[in-house]
Symmetry: C2
Subunit: 224 residues, 2 copies
């Protein structure tokens, strides 16, 4: 499983499987067939089997999948069996919103600190943590074993902040700034370009009169 390179499109579907399996588990469902999952998730059963085969298949389809086991295994593949330490760069509205979004902590994404360029924000409490100056960031990342930096500052400052994060040995950047970051290969980047997402919606509204709605999911884009 760790050996072969798995496409990002397959990876993009894993959180959705994880979500549906979690709901089945919470309902006390013990086993689920790829056909049942297929109906629930409106993807083909063969797609589900193909996706799962990337990770060894997770047991016989004949008897269906063991829900608790599959949920646990996919969680492990997603790295949710160990906590991640996050800092947020940018104490503006979006940074504060993300800091206050409890759901992340339930998944083991622990918010450890928040930083900003703006001195007027220093000391301001966000989710019980005081906003710190950027100068403290490098040391903080090392001392608190921060692996993920959430970048919510405007485009203008984002590139410089990313460079500082690289210097600080960050492992991953969750980038909300509307700019593509140019960082070394060792650093994982996941972009959430909200404006792009909204423009895509705008396109599909215009296309609507030609019929055919296009649902698109941030976490499972595909060609076709």
């Amino acid at each position: 499983m760790a050996e072969k390179e798995i496409s990002q499109t397959v990876i993009s579907r894993l959180p959705r499987y994880f979500r549906y399996l979690g709901e089945l588990k919470d309902k006390g469902v013990e086993r689920v067939s790829s056909q049942e999952l297929s109906r629930l998730m409106t993807v083909t059963a063969s797609q589900i089997r193909q996706d799962f085969n990337n990770f060894g298949g997770f047991g016989q389809q004949g008897y269906g999948y063991n829900v608790a086991y599959l949920y646990h295994e996919i969680g492990k593949i997603l790295g949710l069996d160990q906590p991640h330490h996050l800092i947020i760069i940018g104490a503006g509205n979006l940074g504060q919103a993300l800091a206050n979004y409890m759901n992340f902590e339930r998944r083991g994404f622990l918010f450890k600190g928040i930083f900003d360029h703006d001195p007027s924000l220093y000391g301001k409490e966000v989710r019980g943590l005081a906003v710190q100056p950027m100068e403290n960031m490098e040391r903080f990342i090392e001392e608190h074993e921060i692996d993920i930096a959430v970048l919510t500052i405007p485009k203008a400052g984002a590139v410089a902040a990313a460079e500082l994060l690289v210097k600080s040995g960050i492992k991953a950047i969750w980038n909300f700034a509307h700019v593509d970051l140019n960082v070394p290969d060792r650093i994982q980047v996941e972009n959430v370009h909200l404006t792009d997402s909204l423009m895509k919606l705008s396109y599909n509204i215009n296309r609507q009169q030609d019929g055919g709605r296009q649902e698109s999911r941030c976490s499972d884009e595909e060609d076709g």
Copy 2:
């Protein structure tokens, strides 16, 4: 151009072209070749030509593309030549953050109202607009010709809210709730599942030791 169905993956790349062309335009660049764009955007020149050919090609590559023209045309294709009226459902941190994100208005996405289930929030001002009860929503959508609803309430209430939005004749839902909405085909849905995005980042951090960084972009996922 309106005739053939264009893949959502191509559409997903348009906002990024639009962004880079806007930056070139702001720098006073008049013409750009697919090779230059390719270098800037780190996509292949042939991909760029293929993408543009979906829309008629936008002029001869020999002389390069006219930046201002291409920027304008892609903006038109994205429906940015006409304003969109938005309401936000959910006056929590994320709803307020999105309401306060100016960048959307610059693109013609105009924030007209905000609604919530929670009576303690009624009347609270967000970006100069008072939070309204959900009961007002249907009428408001009709009176203010709202075409996009931004759904930022928790999963639990999101499905019911989506049903109400459908009843209210909304054209599109920008869904931040961590649930897949089941709405009629005529209604456009763009999902931003932040938790899924974070899980994908977590996966790629874990994969990092096997080498090979995977950059993924919310707005241009592709297999491979």
